[in-house]
Assembly symmetry: C2
Homo-oligomer: 478 residues x 2
């Protein structure tokens, strides 16, 4: 059926002329440049009135067009400022990232050319660019040539993918009696990964830690033996290379010994700590990582990239591929040579963004040394701030930095545990109220504990001095 007048059908509203593209970018860049330049003087957290604003924002699908300048005003003046300012040099909360601008440039390019990199045949050289990035990571941690990896959206998907791979290798049939082991400090994404992969939550064993918040290998061995006696199937150990609570790095050498002797899969959650392997001190703290079967590393943490960039490395790349290979008639041919990577065969994802460019570009523009030096600076700053905190009367260092995170609390004689927790809660509020640094807390054995995690590429000594000064002042006010 030919249309009578098909020519009338051309709809080109969504296509932009070169001038329109440039105009959008110019307007956006004015705001972006102003935003980034003013980061040092922006509040490091301000969500007052955020709920009201969010409720006001609710609206149905727009039929009306809105000018770009108005949308930029809305974003940069109203929506973005009401947030935890994760891009600020004063953001010392959770695990900071920062967000390298280079990655924004990379995504601008990647989105514009919109190539399909998860099937090698569709963009061989771009797939190789992404494979390079993963090879860099594998080399960095000392993995062999047969290792393979994928870039993920973050640590949660990386750990899930590792677990699915281990499940396929170690428990190919009925896996519901499979048990998993991690310290009681492990990130909750590991428990979530277990649930998503179909394990009952009670199959995840929380192994107690030592005084440095590291998993106790003896307790681990005992629990594995107990479970075997119960007829269960121990198969998966998660070590942490930098916990979110205190930055603790489990003893990877000892855990690798346990895993080898017990024939369990060892996964290292190095989402936070992994890229400190670029530094000598990091290599020392995380010795033995190369013996793990798989490792999670988050470029959006210690490589300073924007959120949405995680990674998983698996020592036996073929295992990763076995767990993720399903074929179909309508797909292009896949590659047999493991040097030519079809990422869709290594990951749960098929179509997805071209993440590799986001990592590749800043490394190529600066060389690895810039990252190494910046990470060394974070290690120094964490040591420095710990030394300063120790000099504040009553300040207890609950966990000294194993990498770039220190946990601490104020202790005053005569207060019971609840009162002490309340005191530290008020300390946190007072420090954060100054909006020069933003700290968060956690709970360790019932104790409310403050944390400073130094990980933004924008954080330097001047900001750490502000942190110490604001903490000192708050302590005096309490």
């Amino acid at each position: 059926m030919a249309l009578e007048n098909p020519g009338k059908q051309d709809i080109k509203e969504l296509e932009l002329s070169s001038e329109e593209m440039r105009a959008l970018i110019d307007l956006a860049m004015d705001r972006i440049v102003e935003h980034i330049a003013s980061l040092p003087v922006q509040p490091v957290s301000d969500v007052s009135g955020g709920e009201q604003l969010a409720r006001l924002m609710a609206e149905g699908m727009p039929e009306q067009a809105t000018p770009f300048a108005d949308l930029l005003d809305l974003l940069f003046h109203r929506l973005v400022p009401k947030s935890y300012n994760t891009a600020s040099p004063g953001y010392l909360a959770y695990i900071p990232g920062g967000g390298l601008f280079h990655a924004a440039v990379a995504d601008l390019i990647a989105d514009s050319v919109n190539r399909y990199v998860t099937v090698w045949a569709a963009a061989p050289a771009l797939a190789q660019l992404e494979a390079n990035v993963l090879r860099w990571f594998a080399d960095m941690i000392g993995y062999p040539r047969e290792a393979q990896g994928v870039l993920t959206t973050g640590g949660s998907m990386a750990s899930f993918t590792a677990l699915v791979t281990a499940r396929r290798e170690r428990l190919p049939k009925d896996f519901l009696s499979g048990t998993l082991y991690a310290s009681d400090q492990v990130h909750h994404s590991v428990i979530k990964a277990a649930l998503l992969a179909g394990f009952p939550e009670e199959n995840v064993r929380a192994i107690p830690v030592d005084g440095h918040f590291r998993i106790r290998p003896g307790a681990l061995r005992t629990r594995i033996a107990d479970d075997r006696r119960l007829g269960l199937s121990p198969f998966f150990i998660v070590a942490s290379a930098g916990t979110t609570n205190t930055g603790a790095v489990d003893d990877l050498e000892k855990l690798a010994d346990v895993a080898r002797e017990e024939r369990l899969w060892l996964h290292v959650d190095a989402a936070y700590g992994g890229f400190f392997m670029l530094t000598e001190r990091g290599q020392k703290a995380m010795r033995g990582m190369e013996r793990a079967d798989s490792v999670t590393l988050d470029p959006h943490k210690a490589l300073f990239l924007p959120y949405g960039t995680g990674s998983l490395l698996v020592r036996d790349g073929a295992a990763l591929r076995r767990a993720h290979t399903v074929n179909a008639d309508y797909m292009p041919p896949m590659q047999a040579d493991p040097d030519l990577v079809d990422f869709c065969l290594l990951s749960p994802e098929l179509s997805r963004d071209f993440r590799g460019l986001r990592v590749w570009l800043p490394f190529k523009l600066h060389g690895a040394g810039a990252f190494r030096r910046s990470l060394d600076e974070k290690l120094d700053l964490a040591q420095w701030v710990t030394g300063e905190l120790r000099q504040i009367p009553g300040m207890e260092i609950v966990a000294a930095p194993q990498l770039s995170l220190v946990a601490f609390r104020l202790v005053r004689a005569g207060l019971d545990p609840d009162q002490l927790n309340d005191l530290n809660r008020r300390l946190l509020e007072k420090v954060n109220a100054r909006q020069r640094v933003f700290l968060t807390a956690t709970t360790l054995g019932g104790r409310f504990v403050l944390r400073i995690c130094v990980l933004s590429f924008r954080t330097h000594l001047d900001r750490m001095r502000m942190a110490v000064s604001d903490i000192r002042d708050a302590v005096q006010e309490l």
Copy 2:
């Protein structure tokens, strides 16, 4: 321990001045604008020499810095051109996307401000912006107010998330006897989702289709009954709203009836077809979608966004949340009010990119009508090209468009099935060799069949005329 001279530690190499940021963007934009403007005359696929180039690209982690202009030359002159040109107006292969430039602008902004949107408390208004987008989608398909959804990286993660949700709701304990049902035309991501979620591959039932490649409800009922007799646990039906092979849309009303009567979860894989719900014809073709328990829709397909933007909607939003909620001491407080959305409680992901802006910005800039009109144009073009193909002697329309995809093959008397397949393979090669359009094929009951999927916002009648002309010429040469 205070450092002796901590001031020397400031490492600012990765921080860019305003001028440096603008310079990077200006250089990148010169290439991007040139690339996009020349898309109509670029080859629509060229991977010759791609393997050699990929192998040459392999390199270790760079210590040396490389000037940005050189990297742009490498990308735009050497790497990007060796690919399936998924951004081209002539890309009619697989399921095209295109890649709206507006989304690239959105990602530039999102990466630059690098806010954390998956926890409501961390950026309430930005989380709301993303929640709005999902509400638009839910309203579009006729879902009730209690529906919730998430933006994913693509259809694979959306379908996996739906399956995990259904598994939690319907088979909370031992699920290994749970069986899944889909047509033999279903996308392989559904089989992969089953494997990832821990189901044996043999638990996925391939139900035969009718002459329009739609699942046969009678055969489905029979298979469910057979499985129940075997002691298995039928629980999940996947309907397709636009298969990848032929664009077939299952009868959603009838499948919703089966699901209700048999008490099974009905998931609709509308990754390709879903956004045609913006059009009247699409609503008619996909009637009954609102009765499904969950729906996959890919904005990087029929909303023309760059790869990396999928979505899942679940009619009972609380079910989605139940399947994905795990808490931790170090996390900010989560919201009890379902109007204030913590996306990390609805998805396998915790940290990830701010996808909402990528969808929100083009809708706000143009209004929904621009998408509706563009999708109507695709429906018209698919009808038009089908009419033209019918007029080519010997051309058999294997599957007329139910949405914007037509499957066809050349038939010549006296050829056996293998010879016919070979003939059509050569037809495909000849058409693609002209590099004005890029088509792909699939196999249907042993028949090698060509496909044209019209889905790029850049594809208009002129390009469809080229397709027809190139096919006519190739047929004559054979």
